[in-house]
């Protein structure tokens, strides 16, 4: 269904090594317009590193990243800590995102879009976790992006707020037709609202279209029957399995020694 939409960004065979230590290898990622691609994986899987490569913040040791010409990227960083000594309101923060400046009305509009209109004149440092994530999302949107890159967008948000934020991303995708590349390390809510999932653990463990499949033995083995029954599920096949933290294990279904690939 997404096969015909134009490719916004494509990373091919990306490998990254920091001082000889391989963090990522052989990773392919493609995001098309109107598509939500989610990167999942345990801590230290290289999700943020991959995002930084795709954003052009670090150069991959091997491989290429091709962007569509004139692509505008809206980026929502994992966390934002502004020194309390800087007096800065949400309005000013949003205005920083656009080189030519941004009217107050435009700020209000984008805040209304993310459901945080009331914080316009509040100080950035006084925002709650949920408000902060919404403001960061608004900042990514003010640039009228073609591609949204969201690094753990629900961090520090309570469960209700998480579901709301994911719905919001859905709505934005539908209304604006943007491509979305999202990082998460919990697949619970993400899976149901994603077109393509890439399971990363220093390499691409598996990737595919998550569909609502009631019973998949791989998924059940991975996340437990309860979770599998309650949530959206992958249909692709794993050639290996993970423990509960997402670490790669040996033979499928065998909880034991990690395999030595990747």
């Amino acid at each position: 269904m997404m096969g015909t939409a134009k490719v916004l960004i494509e990373a091919t065979d990306v490998a990254v090594a920091f001082s000889g230590h391989t963090v990522l290898s052989g990773v392919d990622v493609r995001v098309r317009a109107g598509e939500i691609v989610t990167l999942i994986g345990p801590n230290g899987a290289g999700k943020t590193t991959l995002v930084r490569v795709i954003l052009g913040l670090i150069k991959p040791t091997r491989g290429t990243v091709q962007r569509q010409k004139g692509l505008t990227v809206g980026y929502m960083p994992q966390r934002l800590t502004i020194d309390p000594a800087m007096p800065i309101t949400v309005k000013r923060f949003l205005q920083l995102g656009v080189a030519r400046g941004l009217t107050v009305a435009a700020c209000e509009r984008v805040l209304a879009d993310v459901g945080a209109k009331h914080v316009l004149r509040q100080s950035m440092q006084g925002l709650s976790g949920g408000e902060m994530q919404r403001v960061l999302l608004a900042r990514a949107l003010v640039r009228q992006p073609d591609l949204l890159v969201l690094d753990e967008p629900v961090q520090g948000v309570d469960l209700t707020g998480q579901a709301e934020l994911y719905r919001l991303v859905q709505t934005i995708r539908e209304q604006r037709g943007v491509g979305v590349l999202m990082v998460s390390h919990d697949l619970h809510v993400v899976m149901a609202q994603t077109d393509h999932v890439i399971c990363l653990n220093r390499h691409v463990c598996c990737a595919g279209h998550p569909e609502v499949v009631s019973r998949d033995p791989q998924f059940s083995a991975l996340f437990g029957l309860d979770v599998a029954a309650a949530l959206a599920v992958y249909t692709h096949r794993h050639d290996h399995t993970h423990d509960l933290d997402g670490h790669v294990l040996g033979e499928p279904g065998v909880l034991g020694e990690p395999c030595d690939h990747g």
Binding site: L80, I82, P87, G126, R143
Partner: protein, 289 residues
């Protein structure tokens, strides 16, 4: 002033003859005030960034290297202002390169570079036979010895620094809030940071004449932190910091004149009083502001 000819002619003016207040000495206070105001004008806004970026120690490290610049200026036989600017800018460049060293924190690297440069400065100063550098003057400032040429040079540099800062403002602010976000949005963060460090190096060289090497950081961070509580935007804080710095210069010089106190420390003490006032007004609403 430190890069003036005082070292050679030794025309030190004492506070005793200041009290007579003839036209010459009056002009002398006017020159000190003008030079001090120029420094406050740029140290305020740049100091705001130093505070926001938590670079207080960086400013201190840069100022420690200034003595090496003074000494080298004498060795090479150029105006010490050039020596100071050259060395401080060079050290700023070295430090910006060292930021990428893995395994040692920038804090540690700053300490190494700053104290190595201070030691080298003291050593070079000791080897100069023909001139005896007035260490006290450099360490604590000697604004009362400022000549008209120095006032002109100070204002020229201050205006240039301020103009560059205004041009750089939005990029620098964006990079300060979140470097990666700024980079994704098209700001060249490395170049912006480098430009900021060079501006900072120049301001350190300027502030050194007013309050001395040991108190330069004070001119950067005290006025900016003093006005935090009354500032609603980054721009307001920068402008108010310049105003607060200016007030501190005037009040400090007045106290120095009135009570026969050293000028540089008096200026810093006046700034500290302003900071105290700002702290009191910040107190009741400690949540964020």
């Amino acid at each position: 002033m430190f890069w003036g000819n005082r070292v050679f002619w030794g025309n030190r003016v004492t506070m005793d003859n200041l009290m007579t207040f003839d036209w010459r000495l009056d002009g002398f206070m006017v020159r000190a005030a003008l030079a001090g105001l120029a420094v406050a004008l740029v140290a305020g806004p740049l100091g705001a960034f130093v505070v926001w970026r938590r670079m207080a120690y960086f400013g201190g490290a840069l100022s420690h290297t200034a003595l090496l610049g003074v000494a080298l200026g004498f060795v090479v036989g150029v105006n010490p202002l050039f020596g100071v600017s050259f060395v401080v800018v060079a050290v700023a460049l070295i430090l910006s390169g060292l930021q990428r060293v893995r395994g040692l924190s920038l804090d540690t690297l700053l300490g190494v570079v700053a104290h190595a440069a201070l030691a080298a400065g003291l050593m070079v100063a000791a080897t100069l036979d023909r001139v005896r550098i007035d260490l006290m003057g450099y360490l604590f400032g000697d604004i009362l010895a400022v000549g008209w040429t120095d006032v002109a040079a100070t204002w020229t540099i201050a205006v240039v620094v301020l103009a560059v800062l205004v041009g750089l403002w939005k990029k620098l602010l964006s990079a300060t809030v979140h470097a990666d976000l700024a980079e994704v949005e098209g700001v060249n963060v490395r170049r912006t940071d480098l430009a900021f460090m060079l501006l900072l190096a120049l301001v350190v060289a300027l502030a050194m004449q007013v309050v001395g090497i040991l108190l330069v950081t004070a001119m950067l961070i005290i006025p900016a932190s003093a006005v935090r509580s009354v500032s609603r935007t980054p721009e307001a804080m920068a402008v108010l910091a310049a105003v607060a710095g200016g007030l501190a210069v005037i009040a400090g010089l007045a106290a120095s004149y009135q009570f026969d106190l050293p000028a540089g420390p008096s200026i810093v003490a006046a700034a500290a009083v302003l900071f105290g006032v700002g702290l009191v007004s910040l107190w009741p609403k400690s949540k964020g502001v």
